[in-house]
């Protein structure tokens, strides 16, 4: 059963059409790595999937997940650097899509704790967000995304700016969610070789048109 289907998707960004006639579909539990040069429309595609950008034409169909149930990890948090918020407040804000009354429930708070445990951020719970290292910021934002969804993660360069140990840890955490909890993952990454180790599908955006392959096909091509 496919959870996400893109059909002839065209998205405009600034002046030009950045995504042209893109079609692909994802099954439940798929791990898609989106790659391509700078400006090839990776983030634009992700924002369209999340409903932040309106496609020019074509359609994005979701099956079994609500648009609001997508855990998003943005590339750059748009917040100011010295924003007064601690880690717990940021993670808990991931439960926003469950908020029915003005306040978070006990279950929401437990969910935030669980997400912090999974991302190994519970020890820095009280630290100000602005004082975290690059790796800690990414893990906290992943925890927030996990609060928002247990079905679908949309991750925009989750390992950018991390050292190799941090990167391995980050990919490990994401892979765990995918394998053990059956979370469907769409991840943007520059580093295709590493990402292809975890992903089962690869979407390459760029000048010559997009190519959508399984990781196996991609591996064969790379060897040739």
């Amino acid at each position: 059963m496919s959870v996400l289907t893109c059909e002839n998707l065209c998205v405009r960004y600034d002046a030009g059409l950045i995504i042209k006639d893109l079609s692909f579909s994802l099954e439940k539990g798929d791990y898609l790595c989106v790659t391509g040069e700078n400006g090839s429309g990776k983030s634009t595609l992700m924002k369209s999937l999340l409903g932040l950008l309106k496609p020019q034409s074509g359609k994005i169909a979701l099956n079994g997940i609500d648009r609001r149930e997508m855990g998003y990890l943005p590339q750059q948090s748009s917040s100011v650097r010295d924003f007064p918020a601690n880690v717990y407040e940021v993670v808990l804000s991931g439960c926003l899509n469950r908020l029915k009354t003005p306040f978070y429930t006990k279950r929401d708070k437990e969910r935030a704790r669980e997400a912090m445990r999974l991302t190994k951020t519970e020890k820095i719970e009280k630290r100000p967000f602005g004082e975290l290292s690059g790796g800690q910021v990414k893990r906290v934002l992943l925890a927030r995304a996990l609060c928002a969804s247990e079905k679908f993660l949309a991750l925009d360069e989750p390992a950018a700016g991390l050292d190799s140990a941090g990167e391995a840890e980050m990919y490990g955490l994401i892979g765990e969610q995918n394998r053990e909890r059956g979370v469907t993952v769409v991840m943007i990454s520059h580093d295709v070789k590493t990402a292809a180790r975890y992903a089962n599908k690869i979407l390459c955006l760029g000048g010559a048109g997009a190519s959508f392959k399984t990781a196996e096909e991609y591996g064969k091509n790379a060897e040739v």
Binding site: G51, Y72, S78, E89, G94, L96, Y104
Partner: protein
């Protein structure tokens, strides 16, 4: 000094001004945290100038309760300013400067040509005598509604202030929240302007938030601290201005005293923040 304070509270107009001013201080501080973090501080400043223009208009039309004119017009200006900053055609800060000086100019022409000179200073720097009859109820009602709305939407306000894109992805109508924020700010500016003065009301919005951020590093503490700082500064500013006037006979405007009290606390908190960082640094070493 205690006698002078008791005397101050025996005037009914002072009590009215203190009720409205206290409530406005609370609301201004709450909204101020989001406005400062979203870099919307200047919207409050721009709206106060629009407010000045509407006060002039109300006086010229001979309307006894100027809130009836000011509230709708300043609300309209708030929506306009927000759209202008969002559309990106004119830069946000330039848009605000444009609207500010425009309405200040129109307001002063109306006031001067009607020969209402005496009111001009009162509009710009506020007067504690301003809260009369009907205004007390309208102002208190508005202030309580703003505070209630803030508490009700606290978690959503945090999320939208922290990360608009993430909030949008989880289905929050970010545009609506920005509009609500601008509308609440407009209401606070209009209500607070009479006591604080059009030129000083934005201090009430910006100071407490910045003061709290010097020392506190999580959102809830910053919100609570800025509310407390704002209310304490308001009352001590009013009381000190009255005490000074009685003791020395020198005129001491109330609105200005409140802003000076805010400035003093801001400087104290800045020093405390620096001291704390230094201490922490030493501990780590």
């Amino acid at each position: 000094m205690f006698g002078i304070i008791v005397e101050l509270f025996s005037f009914p107009f002072v009590v009215k001004a203190l009720i409205v001013g206290g409530l406005v201080s609370l609301c201004a501080a709450l909204l101020g945290v989001s406005l400062v973090l979203k870099r919307y501080s200047m919207i409050g400043d721009g709206l106060s100038h629009v407010g000045f223009g509407t006060l002039g208009l109300a006086a010229a039309l001979g309307i006894a309760s100027p809130l009836k004119i000011s509230v709708p017009l300043v609300l309209l200006a708030a929506f306009g300013l927000l759209r202008l900053s969002e559309s990106g055609k004119i830069k946000g800060d330039a848009a605000i400067a444009l609207v500010s000086s425009g309405s200040l100019a129109i307001g002063s022409i109306i006031v001067e040509s009607k020969g209402l000179n005496a009111d001009l200073t009162g509009y710009m720097f506020g007067t504690i005598l301003a809260v009369g009859g009907e205004d007390l109820y309208i102002s208190s009602g508005i202030a309580i509604a703003v505070a209630a709305a803030y508490i009700f939407f606290y978690n959503r306000i945090f999320a939208v202030t922290f990360d608009e894109d993430f909030s949008k992805a989880t289905g929050v109508n970010v545009k609506l929240y920005n509009t609500v924020l601008a509308a609440l700010t407009a209401l606070v500016v209009v209500v607070g302007m009479r006591v604080m003065g059009a030129l000083l009301i934005s201090g009430l919005i910006i100071f407490p938030a910045l003061t709290a951020m010097r020392v506190f590093k999580n959102f809830k503490s910053v919100v609570v601290c800025s509310a407390v700082v704002s209310i304490v500064c308001f009352f001590s500013g009013i009381i000190l201005s009255y005490v000074r006037e009685r003791a020395t006979g020198l005129r001491t405007p109330a609105g200005a005293s409140v802003v000076v009290a805010n400035l003093a606390v801001f400087l104290a908190f800045t020093a405390a923040g620096i001291a704390r960082r230094k201490l922490k640094g030493r501990k780590r070493r």
